[in-house]
């Protein structure tokens, strides 16, 4: 049978990063198809190509066997492809019906909007879906689940034949998931092709007939669900040899430096407790959205927390006070370099000395080039490639920007270094430099907490791996027992290993 929609040999690169290499996919009418893979496996890029957001660099998109090219999301929609995202983006102050028919409102004489026709057709769509939402109520205040149903109704309104659902259940409760699945099954049985992306294997097995596994931007396998087990799928997802070994130096863990006790922020993470010793690199692993970055932000004081305590070297840290955290010897290299790590318009020098601006001053004054010397010293130690340290950091490459962020924090001589996605979006050469640096810091007695979504990095660098799943710490795996499978099992909530 001819697939409704097929991808053949699709490549897509962003700069030097290859997001998709020879990606393949076949979606059939009346079938729900699951797409699974680790963070960064290329699922989102693939969805964006289906949605017409990105065009492929190479390869073909076939609709009913005919090659097509989408120049924009509108083209994809016209071809009958609808995408439901994890968090729908409705216009909160418009009514549900207006949201569904945005840009395509039914008209009556004098090009006026025919509100009653719009309401009727909305009711009709909701009737088909078997849901009850008042078409006249504003979208504001609808639950995420109801917002997704509105999006699905919108997809139905232009006769979508392919429905792509990108982690739709991440924010839903059990009952809501059931209702969504009932709708999805009904659509499927009506002949729609559904692409379902999820980290939750129980859902994949409950809804889908076929599974495609991706890894590192490549198609790995597609198989009937009946031939698969959860174990098998996980193994296929992570099954890669750890060829790139990281130069982790052996160290003797020292005193406990960072103690986190029962840390809770409602809606983000719950009862998180762990310690990090001097000389230790502890990785905080888990899927995107598991609450890892949020924990690091709360420890550093960017966000407040609802319960729990943080101690650095035995001293309790004031919540919500980053200057106090810095004074206590804590440093946080944040996830988003451009928005949080650096002030892009300011110079390398100003960025590299910002957290130390008081330490570098004398009598409250900054003079005599103390900033220039400090910045020059650290830029040299980390081999930042720049023409001048007075140039804005925005002129540097991603890898060099990351080095400036590291220089900025290492110059504070932290006792506890928290680093969120240390090598995201930087080239391979700089990557191993960063890893060597972290290893060296640990050997000098710094306690390192590394949040990372890259399993090879986690396994190569960490003395211990803490795994978070949906806001909870579910596993604490020592280095000699940590492998891709044990971490992935814990991260996907398959095994609640004793912490």
């Amino acid at each position: 049978m001819l697939p409704v929609l097929a991808l053949e040999g699709v490549d897509k690169s962003f700069g030097a990063v290859a997001a998709l290499r020879d990606a393949r996919l076949e979606l059939h009418a009346g079938e729900a198809h699951a797409l699974v893979g680790e963070n960064g496996a290329g699922k989102s890029t693939l969805v964006k190509i289906l949605a017409g957001v990105h065009g492929p660099d190479a390869g073909r998109l076939l609709l009913d066997g005919q090659p097509v090219a989408f120049g924009s999301p509108a083209d994809a929609r016209a071809a009958g492809i609808a995408v439901i995202y994890q968090e729908p983006t409705l216009f909160p102050d418009l009514s549900v019906a207006e949201n569904i028919f945005m840009g395509r409102q039914p008209l009556k004489g004098l090009r006026r909007i025919d509100a009653s026709a719009m309401r009727e057709r909305t009711n009709e769509l909701f009737g088909r879906l078997g849901v009850q939402i008042d078409p006249d109520r504003p979208a504001r205040g609808l639950s995420i689940a109801d917002q997704q149903l509105v999006e699905i109704a919108k997809a139905l309104s232009f006769d979508a034949r392919v429905l792509v659902m990108d982690e739709p259940t991440a924010a839903l409760s059990g009952v809501e998931v059931e209702r969504l699945f009932a709708v999805a099954r009904a659509l499927r049985d009506d002949g729609a092709a559904i692409l379902f992306i999820s980290h939750r294997f129980d859902e994949v097995f409950a809804l889908c007939q076929r599974v495609t596994v991706m890894r590192d931007g490549r198609w790995i396998a597609t198989d009937e669900i009946g031939n698969l087990t959860v174990d098998g799928v996980v193994r296929t997802m992570v099954g890669r040899d750890i060829s790139a070994l990281f130069p982790k130096l052996e160290t003797e863990p020292g005193e406990v430096r960072l103690t986190v006790d029962g840390l809770t922020r409602h809606g983000y993470f719950d009862d998180v407790s762990f310690t990090v010793r001097g000389g230790e690199i502890v990785a905080l692993a888990g899927l995107v959205g598991a609450g890892r970055s949020e924990v690091a932000r709360a420890i550093f004081g960017i966000d407040r927390y609802d319960a729990g305590q943080v101690h650095v070297d035995g001293r309790r840290l004031r919540p919500g006070d980053p200057p106090a955290a810095i004074a206590a010897g804590l440093a946080l290299v944040p996830e988003d370099r451009r928005q949080q790590g650096l002030v892009m318009e300011l110079s390398i020098e100003r960025n590299a000395t910002l957290p130390r601006r008081w330490a570098l001053s004398r009598l409250g004054l900054l003079f005599g080039g103390s900033e220039r010397r400090s910045a020059a010293d650290w830029a040299k130690r980390l081999q930042v490639k720049a023409a001048r340290n007075t140039d804005p950091v925005s002129t540097l490459s991603g890898g060099n920007q990351q080095k400036v962020v590291l220089a900025k924090w290492l110059s504070t001589e932290p006792r506890v270094l928290m680093i969120d996605e240390p090598t995201r979006g930087i080239d391979v050469g700089t990557k191993s430099e960063v890893h060597r640096l972290l290893s060296q810091l640990a050997s000098e007695g710094v306690a390192v907490l590394m949040v990372s979504s890259e399993l090879p990095e986690v396994l190569g660098m960490a003395d211990r791996v803490l795994v978070m799943h949906e806001g909870r710490l579910v596993a604490d795996i020592p280095r000699d027992q940590a492998d891709e499978e044990s971490v992935m099992f814990a991260a996907t909530g398959q095994r609640e290993a004793a912490a």
């Binding site: 790590g341 318009e345 003079f367 080239d427």
Partner: protein, 350 residues
């Protein structure tokens, strides 16, 4: 990484262009040049411009504007604005007059109480903006009306004018041997204080960081909200100082004192090259802009240009001030891009 070879390592160590050359192309330099040209042309063509009397009135008029422009520069650099300053001046004048009327006769006590009042009015702005997270534009438009209204509550349409002659004469007394009012020395001292704060202290560094990216500043340990709060307090106190000067200079406390002054201040700060979006600009340009606007206004007045035309000139300059620095920056960037070394460097930064 192969592109790295495009950069000759010997040349990456190239020194920054000399300070004088950077200065020459800057907006500050353009303003100072414009100021000199306007002074020379006006002195040559308009009778009375350039006389000692002209300078004396110019300085007297510029002092309150400059006093408030100092903290306003810092506020706008952090990406906020305070439009309530003129009303703060008015309310301070009214309370000062009323206190005198009620029998407070000690000058130091009156000054200290006025400054405290100003700081308090600034703190009210600060609380709304930093604690409740409201936009400063909206908050200070509100307090612009509120503080002016309170000034009328205090004084109504009375004018309190019976201060000791010594006070009112001393306020405008010249520096011995010159015609320039001595109060300009107070302004100069405060300008130095604000200049050092902005250019040579950790606080100054954090102001530019906040204006460019408040999020990254928080991550770097800058207390963004606390810093902004104290800036509004300082602005209130400086407006109050301007109010004290205003009262004794005109020997009159009225509820409508300094109405509209906030626009003169904001115009000077923006013309001075401070970006309304925050993060860019400095005090040198702002002080030059205060002088330039003052010279223009006074010269045109002497040339019998009607008041309406003066407003048009100020408005045009204000628009130029927003466009001008951007044009200068764009031109400079384009020039820089034309230089081959930098092009190679930029290519490596992909």
């Amino acid at each position: 990484m192969a592109t790295d070879t495009l950069v000759d390592p010997a040349r990456t160590a190239e020194a920054a262009p000399p300070a004088w050359r950077r200065l020459l192309g800057s907006w500050d330099a353009i303003l100072i040049l414009a100021l000199l040209v306007v002074v020379l042309v006006a002195s040559a063509t308009i009778e009375g411009v350039g006389s000692p009397r002209f300078y004396r009135f110019l300085v007297l008029e510029a002092i309150p504007i400059a006093l408030i422009a100092l903290p306003m520069t810092l506020v706008i650099i952090t990406g906020e604005i305070d439009l309530s300053v003129a009303s703060t001046v008015g309310l301070t004048c009214s309370v000062l007059g009323q206190l005198w009327y009620l029998g407070v006769t000690s000058l130091p006590v009156l000054i200290v109480l006025s400054l405290l009042l100003g700081a308090m009015l600034g703190a009210v702005n600060g609380v709304f903006i930093t604690v409740f997270g409201l936009p400063s534009l909206a908050v200070t438009i509100g307090t612009l009306a509120l503080y002016r209204g309170l000034a009328y509550v205090v004084l109504g349409d009375r004018a309190i004018a019976d201060y000791p002659q010594a006070w009112t004469q001393n306020a405008v007394a010249p520096i011995p041997g010159t015609v320039i009012p001595w109060f300009v020395l107070v302004l100069a001292a405060l300008a130095v204080v604000f200049g050092v704060l902005l250019y040579a202290t950790p606080i100054g560094r954090s102001l530019y960081a906040i204006g460019n990216n408040a999020d990254a500043s928080t991550f770097a340990g800058v207390s963004v909200l606390r810093t902004k709060f104290w800036l509004f307090v300082a602005t209130g106190a400086m407006a109050a100082l301007a109010g004290v000067f205003w009262t004794f200079r005109f020997a009159s406390a009225r509820a409508d004192n300094a109405t509209g002054l906030e626009l003169a201040v904001v115009a000077a700060v923006l013309l001075g090259g401070v970006s309304i979006f925050g993060g860019r600009g400095g005090l040198v340009g702002v002080l030059a802009a205060v002088a330039l606007l003052g010279v223009l206004r006074n010269s045109l007045q002497l040339a019998d240009v009607p008041a309406n035309a003066l407003t048009i000139v100020t408005g045009t300059l204000l628009i130029l001030s927003v466009v001008g620095p951007n044009v200068v920056r764009m031109t400079r960037d384009r020039l820089r891009r034309r230089r081959p070394l930098t092009t190679a460097l930029e290519r490596t930064s992909s």
